[in-house]
């Protein structure tokens, strides 16, 4: 059974059909690349699955459960985490606090518990801090936990977003252009990180324009153009698919 499956998924904004009848799936421990020219509907597909937009029609099944139309916080607590194309950290919070916000839906302290410092609240907070530091280490940001997110260099901000997403303990991780703006070394480190996350029993779906990353880490690639799926298969298959070449470069006459 696939971890995530969409059937005939459509999302229209007025007359513009951004995602048009897309059948899409991701299997357990798979790294799926989602590519396509600008405006192909990749990010919209992310936003529909993660609950930012409701689907106009079609079904979304996550681990056997229908999640179409659920609000984003609900989707996250079911086990789907994401990063954003244009970084959306909490700029005036420290790196550690950013990650701790990610743990929100896995912790349970109530307002009363927080005010009274009940033993449970104290224990939970201690564990939250420990695991926040662990996630920061994991993405290579150990030692920067007290830096304000806004003061971190660009590459670190991207990795902090991943750490924050991992802190929600997801089954499925959506990465929206994780390598955007990174230099070749940073990109290489990122690719290692993505493979490591997959090896921890996670499924990853990533949007990426950097073909080195797509060809390097993805098990399977899905190509969107004008909201429709035009090709799907192994990186090599997709690369040589005439329909994909046409979508990116235009038809030769």
């Amino acid at each position: 059974m696939p971890v995530l499956e969409t059937k005939e998924l459509t999302r229209a904004f007025g007359g513009l059909v951004a995602v048009n009848g897309v059948d899409f799936h991701a299997d357990k421990n798979e790294i799926v690349g989602l590519i396509g020219p600008n405006g192909a509907g990749k990010t919209t597909l992310f936003n529909v699955v993660t609950g930012v937009y409701r689907p106009s029609s079609g079904a979304i099944t996550f681990m056997g459960r229908d999640i179409a139309g659920l609000p984003p916080h609900k989707v996250t607590s079911l086990g789907i985490a994401r990063t954003f194309q244009n970084i959306r950290l909490f700029p005036n919070m420290s790196a550690k606090e950013n990650v701790m916000v990610g743990q929100h839906c896995r912790t349970h302290t109530t307002a009363v518990g927080a005010m009274l410092h009940t033993p449970r609240a104290v224990r939970e907070e201690r564990e939250a801090i420990d695991s926040a530091l662990h996630f920061l280490d994991y993405v290579g940001l150990g030692g920067t936990e007290n830096e304000m997110a806004k003061n971190l260099p660009y590459g670190s901000q991207r990795r902090l977003e991943i750490a924050r997403a991992l802190a929600t303990k997801p089954e499925l991780l959506f990465l929206d252009e994780p390598a955007a703006g990174m230099n070749p070394q940073e990109t290489a480190v990122l690719m290692q990180l993505i493979r490591r996350i997959r090896d921890e029993n996670m499924t990853i779906i990533l949007i990426e324009h950097d073909m080195k990353v797509v060809m390097g880490v993805c098990d399977r690639v899905v190509v969107l153009d004008h909201g429709e799926k035009i090709s799907e298969g192994s990186p090599d298959h997709v690369r040589s698919d005439p329909k994909v070449i046409e979508a990116y470069l235009g038809r030769s006459t």
Partner: protein
Amino acid sequence: MSEPVEKNGMSGGAQNGPEGGNILTKRVGLNRLSRIMVGDEGPPWARYAVLGGILAIALVLPYVVGSDRWVTLLTIVLIYVVLSSGLNIVVGFTGLLDLGYAAFYAIGGYFTAIVFVQLLRNRYGVDIDGLWWLFWVNLLLGGLLAAVAGILIGYPTLRLRGDYLAIMTLAFHEIIRIVSNNWVGLTRGPSGISGVPSPEIGSFSLGGSFRLYYLALGIAVVTLFLIGRLVRSRIGRAWTAIREDEVAAEAMGIHTSRYKLLSYASGAFFAGVMGVFLAHYLNFIHPSNFKLMESFVILCLVVLGGMGSLAGPVAGAVIWISVQEWLRDFEFIQTHPEVRGMAMGAILVLLMVFRPQGIFGGRHISLQMRLRSRHRAGKGEEA
């Protein structure tokens, strides 16, 4: 332990620009002081020393200033300390602009006045002098009622942000004020409700300016303690995340509507408590206690002191209210009272020019529980 502390102190300037803090910050060390106060910097004893010092000053101050007028003034300062700290939850931490906060203050005040005078004494003829305990119950109930009102006004405003939200809270304040002025049967309208008894414990009266001051101090200390703990928990982190980026907060699994309502309710709770205190403090409640200007003044205190800091609203209230009263002593101000308002405006303008983040708003406060030993100041992990 001292090494990471130094490092924190250094990076504290980052918010003010590369030169590391403006002149005012460097000279007075306000950022540093506020961080020591909340335990983000320095050893624990430094924090207890600073807090203990402030509390000791607050305890002896009435005997230093001596006169009833100044003790009354100090009590008013404490009322505003609680109000601005409560509003700071909504405006400073959650980032929701609220221009009608004094409405919750009014709800608390009218609640207890109506229960004591209108309902028990006038309607049922109960001897309210024997009901000293009801004041203490009402302190809590008034807060809870205001919290419910906070949720009621919060619910329809959930989708609104910025200007739209501000207008709606403003309108809510006007509803409460106009109702209090016109529902004569319930609130006695413009004549106000008099005869609200002074607080007592058994037969021990807490009336008189000195005892009322200590009661207000007690409420203020409890309020600050509770708000401090709320903010340094996953609740406070959720609020701050909503302020910083609501879409990202929602994507991280935070039920943003629920936490906004919780923020409104928590802020309103403390205003409601203070409203109950006010009614028993003045023995009288009147629509003019809750003019629109009240909401603006409380908001100004939060901005003056520094939004999203714990010490800020306290400092804002202490400075603003005492300066306002001190200015009355000048003959020129007595003959031209309108100048007083101008002076306060000028102070606010100057502050926004030279220290736009507010007096204590210079450094982000830590949003995690203070834990003993290795987790202190966050850096301890590798050490």
